[in-house]
């Protein structure tokens, strides 16, 4: 994707930093959820941040404006945008734009990327300078951790509260280190909000960890026991990875809901995340409906890139699932090995006690000790097998599901556009008929309807272009992250294997003289 340079409409040299360059640079600037003012206005519209979180349609409006990138369209758009505007869809009214003809996606295959101006700063009440400063680095200086699970309450109403600590030097946060208490449903609530805001416009929103009714019930009901401790640790680690992935995403990091989640001491309880609630059931119904729709949408894919990528992700998904299953088997067998080694160690100790030859008795006891230590090693290795290797694969399987979801959203978007075109055609036919029918008021209405649908078609096309563009970028970012992530975790895992071998050598080398001492 070539990065084309266009003269910044606001004539502000700083804005060159905010270009959407190629995937090699993850810059805040490239977030497409920025609201853009018209090129001709001297200052970007200043919009209060809160509006974005309360009005779910916010980013939608933003995406419309981004189409300013296309020189073919909207070059002369003069409207100033305000999030408060109720007629967001009407922004692209025909009198302020050149005639729009439905364009097939092929002409938009190579989208040009740069936003004309970056008002991200204005949206979120940060100074342009600060953002510039942050953008000059390749990584965002923010790290989050999830720790200290604490049981709150009793019985079936009990829940676990986790401490979420953020360390950052980003100016958009109120301080450089802070922590809050959050429960699992808060995380799900956050994901729900982010997903509803960003997925339908093509962003890959990292999925939240899965619910587990069984796991949580055990924790609620039981006292301290190893299997529920394991469950809690698994969940804590998963929540941490989830947050880390979310804050790594340049667009999501700017979302006020995310900031609120990280920063505010009180968070409204997200009740619609409960599995058995009305909202939960609605979600399930919607998911089912989506699945059916997916089967019936037959898209004319004119962009080979999307087809290739979809196939690629499909393959990757299958392979990862296989690998994941194998690693889960490994974890299971390693745990068995640990248990059996421990059992053998105890047995060898007993044997040593019965042995009447002194030196051999000693050696058997030593052997028992060595095997006990080895059992410990196996346990630690099983832990690494699981938390490093197995969970990495699980995370990516879920992430790929999110990626596939985003491709589906694009299909839905295309369908919407096609439907609009079909409706427009019908309206035109109806108008033509009325022309010869001689009913003037109906004719007028028909003409109005045509105008309405013409703009819907335009919007549909724009949205489709936009989502395609976003997805390309997101996939690029995802691929880059995936390579880095995978390499880093695998290296860590291999290092755990190295550690195990080193310890094994140590233990056996210590035992060797004992064995030789048997006389």
């Amino acid at each position: 994707m070539a990065a084309e340079r266009e003269p910044p409409p606001l004539g502000d040299g700083d804005h060159t930093d905010f270009r959407e360059l190629d995937d090699a640079e993850d810059l805040f600037a490239s977030t497409v959820s920025t609201l853009e003012s018209s090129p001709s206005s001297p200052e970007p519209a200043s919009l209060p941040a809160e509006d974005i979180s309360t009005k779910p349609n916010g980013p939608k409006a933003a995406q419309i404006l981004l189409d300013d990138d296309q020189e073919d369209l909207f070059a002369e758009a003069t409207e100033e945008v305000s999030l408060d505007s109720p007629e967001r869809d009407a922004i692209l009214s025909s009198d302020s734009t050149p005639a729009i003809t439905p364009v097939t996606p092929t002409t938009l295959v190579t989208p040009r990327m740069e936003p004309k101006s970056l008002s991200a700063s204005d949206l979120f009440d940060i100074s342009k300078d600060e953002i510039e400063e942050e953008l000059n680095g390749d990584t965002f200086d923010i790290s989050v951790s999830v720790s200290d699970p604490e049981k709150v309450g009793d019985g079936m109403n009990a829940y676990l509260a986790y401490r979420v600590t953020t360390k950052t030097s980003l100016a958009m946060f109120n301080s450089s280190e802070f922590s809050v208490k959050r429960r699992f449903s808060d995380f799900l609530g956050l994901h729900g909000k982010l997903a509803s805001k960003y997925m339908h416009i093509g962003y890959i929103v990292p999925p939240a960890p899965e619910k587990s009714i069984v796991g949580m019930t055990k924790v609620k009901v039981s006292k301290e026991d190893p299997s529920s401790a394991e469950f809690v640790e698994k969940r804590r680690a998963a929540l941490e990875r989830y947050l880390q992935r979310t804050v790594k995403h340049p667009t999501l990091l700017q979302d006020p809901d995310l900031r609120q989640f990280l920063e505010s001491s009180e968070l409204p309880r997200a009740v619609s995340t409960q599995a058995l609630s009305g909202a939960g059931i609605l979600r399930m119904v919607n998911k089912a409906a989506d699945a059916v729709n997916k089967m019936t949408i037959k898209m004319n894919e004119s962009d080979a890139w999307f087809e290739e990528k979809q196939q690629q992700f499909e393959n990757l998904d299958q392979q990862l699932r296989k690998l994941h299953a194998s690693v889960e088997a490994l974890v299971c067998h390693r745990k068995e090995l640990s248990a059996n080694t421990s059992a053998f160690a105890k047995s060898a100790a007993m044997l040593g006690n019965s042995e009447d030859h002194t030196a051999l008795s000693r050696a058997l006891s030593q052997l028992a000790e060595v095997e006990e230590k080895i059992d410990q090693l196996h346990q630690e290795q099983a832990y690494a097998d699981f938390y490093l290797f197995s969970e990495l694969l699980g995370d990516y399987i879920r992430l790929i599901t999110a990626v596939k979801g985003v491709f589906d959203q694009r299909m839905k978007c295309w369908q919407k556009w096609q439907d609009a075109q079909a409706t427009l055609l019908k309206k035109r036919e109806a108008e033509a008929k009325l022309q010869y029918g001689g009913k003037p008021d109906k004719l007028q209405q028909a003409k109005e309807e045509i105008r309405e649908w013409e703009s819907k078609v335009q919007q549909g096309e724009r949205e489709f272009e936009q989502i395609s563009k976003t997805i390309r970028k997101e996939v690029g970012r995802f691929e880059k992250d995936r390579v880095k992530d995978f390499k880093a975790v695998i290296i860590k895992y291999l290092e755990s294997l190295v550690h195990t071998q080193q310890q094994l050598i140590k233990y056996w080398e210590a035992f060797l003289p004992e064995a030789k001492a048997i006389a």
Binding site: Q312, L337, A343, I490, L494, I505, F511, K516, I518
Partner: protein
């Protein structure tokens, strides 16, 4: 087929007991064996300078049941009551690899061609290992007999080695004579030994307590060692699947990850080969060691039992003599009987003491040898795995 690791296996197996087969007057080995469905046919090869045999070198074919027959005749012979009869070799058991082979066949469709080939290879190696183990056990049994100054003169032993026809007819005859009678007696040996009066001889009292206790514990250790070895094998097998998955992922991968995934696939394949060696070394040096001595200790306990029975006979004959003297009836008979029982008991006691003492020496030496070998192998394998892992990490960090 013979390759160095397999030859090493043979040597390791023979070393379960102390080194045998050095005396040129009678050297026995099993160079060959054929597996036909349920039956294994062993080729028993003998080289001898003894006049008792018709030829200086000869081979015969024997089945497992023939070995059992030989063992049982020795056990049931009064002449050898004071000796530790080398334990009979266990029945060849191919059930485990056979079951696994069947399961593998059922799961063939869910694996890649490569994966399936590797699993099959593993299973074939397992089958071969079981095979080699059973050959070694049968061989060691014969070698122990050959090296025992009294047992190697046994007529049935010579027939076993020399008789160039099928032994099954002979087997049937002897079975009819003893027919498991002794076996059912042995079951209550513990009770006989434990319920008896405390032995006058300190040596035997100690041996009794030691053997009963130790035997129970070594049975447990053997079983636990087996489980541990099997778990090791399972982990090694998982690596096969993981390696195959990495290989498939690498093929589809277009990013820079592709070459790393291929490296990882190779790494896991190499690791699993080493882990397979670790599992089989532990099996031979630890599990098989424990198992063999468990059986040997059982034979030692049988000896104690026979001595205890002889003691009971002796005590009974004393009581009978006293009774006879009281009644003044059949005194001479009773006196002879008492003499015989006494001699028998003393002969067994003396022989048993010797046998048990040398047995302990053998056992300790064998444990020492195997522990040292196992430890050295563990260190070697761990070092190999370590260097493989470290070089892979180097490559991945680039």
């Amino acid at each position: 087929m013979a390759s160095t690791p397999e030859e090493n296996d043979d040597n390791k197996l023979r070393s379960v007991s102390v080194d045998l087969n050095h005396d040129p007057s009678l050297m026995i080995d099993i160079p060959d064996a054929l597996s036909e469905r349920e039956k294994v046919k062993f080729t028993v090869h003998t080289k001898t300078t003894l006049a008792a045999f018709q030829k200086p070198e000869f081979s015969v074919t024997r089945q497992h049941e023939d070995f059992i027959w030989l063992h049982d005749t020795l056990v049931e012979s009064e002449d050898y009551a004071g000796l530790i009869i080398p334990p009979a070799p266990p029945k060849p058991d191919f059930e485990s690899p056979r079951d696994k082979m069947q399961k593998l066949g059922e799961g063939e469709s869910s694996m890649t061609k490569e994966e399936f080939a590797k699993m099959k290879q593993e299973l074939e190696a397992e089958y071969l290992a079981v095979f080699k183990k059973t050959v070694a056990m049968h061989e060691v049994f014969l070698q122990r007999l050959a090296s025992h100054p009294i047992l190697n003169k046994n007529r049935n032993f010579q027939i076993f080695l020399e008789y160039d026809q099928d032994l099954s007819v002979r087997r049937k005859n002897t079975k009819e004579m003893f027919g498991g009678f002794f076996k059912s007696m042995v079951k209550t040996a513990d009770e006989v030994l434990l319920s008896g009066v405390k032995d006058v001889d300190e040596f035997f009292e100690q041996e009794k307590t030691f053997l009963i206790d130790y035997l129970n514990r070594i049975k447990d250790s053997t079983a636990k060692a087996d489980k541990m070895t099997r778990s090791n094998k399972n982990v090694a097998e998982d690596y096969i699947h993981i390696s195959a998955c990495f290989s498939s992922l690498s093929a589809d991968e277009t990013s820079a990850l592709s070459k790393y995934l291929l490296k990882l696939s190779e790494l896991f394949e190499k690791l699993r080969k080493i882990d397979g060696r670790v599992a089989s070394d532990e099996d031979l040096k630890l599990s098989e060691l424990l198992r063999y001595y468990m059986r040997d200790l059982q034979a030692g306990k049988d000896l104690l039992y026979r001595r205890a029975r002889a003691l009971v006979d002796f005590e009974n004959s004393n009581k009978a003599l006293d009774k006879a003297r009281l009644k003044s009836k059949d005194v001479k008979q009773a006196e002879i009987q008492q003499q015989v029982s006494c001699q028998k008991f003393e002969k067994i006691s003396e022989s048993a003491k010797q046998e048990l003492t040398s047995f302990k020496g053998r056992r300790v030496a064998a444990f020492r040898k195997n522990f040292i070998e196992m430890t050295e192998l563990e260190i070697k394998h761990a070092k190999n795995k370590l260097s493989l892992l470290q070089s892979c990490i180097e490559i991945m960090k680039k």
